[in-house]
């Protein structure tokens, strides 16, 4: 075998197409794998004005036509998109010769393509399970949800190894799909501290657009959906305001927006809670740096990248003690953990952080150090490369080799 492995990554999103956390994950992982000497190909869905082929930081990126077949609904679209992704990736794999060592799929959205390619080329398939349908929906209620769940089960069954980004997800995935321990590997998600490093910018002008000088900034970043628990934060607002003067900035959009706006209106707190919707990357970075506290009140959270981002931006974090958040944050050391689904507990955490400057500084410094030590993309790439190598070692003894 060659010294350095080649990997074909399959992901339904890759910048500039950004829908959720998979896009930045695949972007940073691929780029850092290249730095470790791994040859990386990414096959992803197309995006307006993005080229069909380009090299990004040494990564060969191919974008396929994802709307080639008309589709009656989202799930059917996913399977039809996979048809085209699989066909294009098969042609690409053949074109570059016998040079792909592993296929690496991200979530059920590319299950069919990944599984098919594994068998056609007889190479090992790895999968990163970023989330599960069971977790996203808090159970399986519809035929579509059951179908997606079974597709996830099929993907984890076919995979040589299943990667999860937190111990919480490992145990969740193990239970949800009945997987053996030795098939599961924990490799954390990373955060890019460099994007927060231009700390010399004067943000006071920027800050004044959002809050009065005497107001502390409480920041929420996330989709406005049930699982993110933003309604818990809204319920905590008056409790916090009774102790501290603050401005609550809500970044993100989702189906709960109107309902949340109505609650804020009924409390007469429209001047204290700002709904910013989607903001661009640069604005988000600045907001995270200005925030006196970042709140992550999720009810379900496979990993909790938004907490890591806040930590990298040196904003103290208050998060619910659930899922991946429980592992990222060490209570009283790198952040504050509160009871999930409990506005009183959340308000307590926020107030505690906002009222104590020293405590805030301490959390910030500890958190930043942890991010650099544990969630550095370079280290994650090294771990991932080692995983590829160990899988290829096992593979070399199989009759497929």
């Amino acid at each position: 075998m060659k010294n350095n492995p080649s990997v074909m990554m399959l992901s339904w999103e890759y910048p500039p197409r950004v829908i959720g956390g998979i896009s930045p994950h695949v972007y940073f992982l691929s780029k850092n794998l290249v730095k470790q000497g791994v040859k990386v190909y990414v096959v992803t869905c197309d995006f307006p004005d993005a080229p069909a082929h380009e090299v990004v930081d040494g990564v060969e990126v191919y974008r396929i036509d994802s709307y080639k077949n008309p589709a009656p609904d989202f799930a059917t679209w996913v399977y039809l998109m996979n048809l085209n992704m699989q066909k294009e990736t098969a042609a690409l794999t053949k074109k570059i010769g016998d040079k792909i060592d592993v296929f690496h799929a991200h979530d059920w959205l590319v299950a069919n393509a990944g599984i098919g390619l594994k068998h056609v080329f007889r190479k090992p398939l790895l999968v990163t399970m970023h989330s599960t349908e069971m977790g996203r929906r808090d159970g399986l209620h519809t035929t579509t949800e059951k179908m997606i769940h079974e597709t996830e089960a099929w993907l984890t069954y076919e995979a040589w190894r299943v990667i999860c980004c937190s111990e919480y997800m490992i145990s969740h995935v193990k239970w949800a799909f009945g997987l053996p321990n030795d098939k599961l590997v924990m490799v954390p998600n990373g955060v890019n501290t460099q994007s927060y490093n231009n700390s010399h910018d004067d943000l006071s002008g920027f800050r004044s657009k959002y809050a009065l000088p005497e107001e502390k900034i409480v920041l929420f970043v996330g989709r406005l959906v049930y699982e993110k628990g933003v309604h818990i934060l809204i319920n905590a607002v008056p409790k916090v305001l009774s102790k501290v003067n603050a401005k609550f900035i809500i970044v993100g959009s989702g189906y709960m927006k109107e309902q949340l706006l109505n609650i804020v209106r009924s409390m007469g707190l429209e001047h204290k809670v700002l709904f910013e919707g989607f903001v661009d990357e640069a604005t988000l970075l600045k907001l995270q740096k200005c925030a006196d506290v970042s709140v992550v009140p999720s009810l379900f959270e496979p990993f909790g990248i938004v907490a890591l981002e806040a930590m990298a931006a040196k904003s103290p974090v208050v998060a619910s003690d659930t899922g991946g958040l429980s592992e990222i944050i060490q209570h009283d050391v790198t952040g504050v953990k509160v009871y999930p689904n409990n506005p009183d507990s959340l308000a307590w955490g926020i107030t505690k952080v906002l009222l104590d400057d020293n405590y805030r500084r301490q959390l910030r410094e500890n958190a930043y150090k942890t991010v650099q030590e544990k969630y550095d993309w370079e280290k994650i790439a090294v771990q991932t490369k080692r995983l590829y190598e160990s899988v290829l070692g096992e593979y070399s003894k199989s009759f497929w080799a």
């Binding site: 589709a71 048809l83 699989q86 098919g116 068998h119 056609v120 007889r122 179908m147 079974e150 099929w154």
Partner: protein
Amino acid sequence: MRIIIFSWEYPPRVVGKLSEDVKSLATELATNDVDVNIVTYDEASTGLTQESKWVKATRVANPVRTHIGVLTWVLTLNQEVERAAANIYYQAAKKIDLIDVYDWHFIPAAVTLKNGLDIPFVYSVESLEDHRSQALNTTYSMAIKSIEWLGFYEAQKISAESEWMRDEIIRIYKVPEEKIVVIPFDDPSSHAKQILSLFSGVAGGAKVK
């Protein structure tokens, strides 16, 4: 000559007339010394399978049981068809002359195997979505048509059972006429001979035997 036939029905699974037609053709081809492999859908409810001495059938089950429609059902079954076909391919030291695909269901698998492993395929048309759906053009129907289109585009040759069907394929999908061969299914033996000569052309003149 070694071939794989993809058909979503094959005895004991009988949905329409395709099942018996494919069986009769496969048997005829086998008696003409073609190594015939069938990949089809395994439906437990059809009961015991009487295997032929000449034709090897691989029956695959759907890895995903719950589905919202025929489309998603077909699309997840295709990976199992690929798996079965790839197994035959690697077992046969990568020597498969062609794949013969009946109708649209397993076109996705055939297209991937062609693009990834260089195995050409013949698209054998039994019926078209335009006729089945009475040209309703719902999104659902359009999706199936887009798979049929992909099959016509990627196939090396297309076989139709009648001149009417050939003309319909040309009318609906604008396929060049020279790509379509009309082979009526009347006498099984002469039908098989014509199919064989079509296959031989697609497989680059591969000899029978």
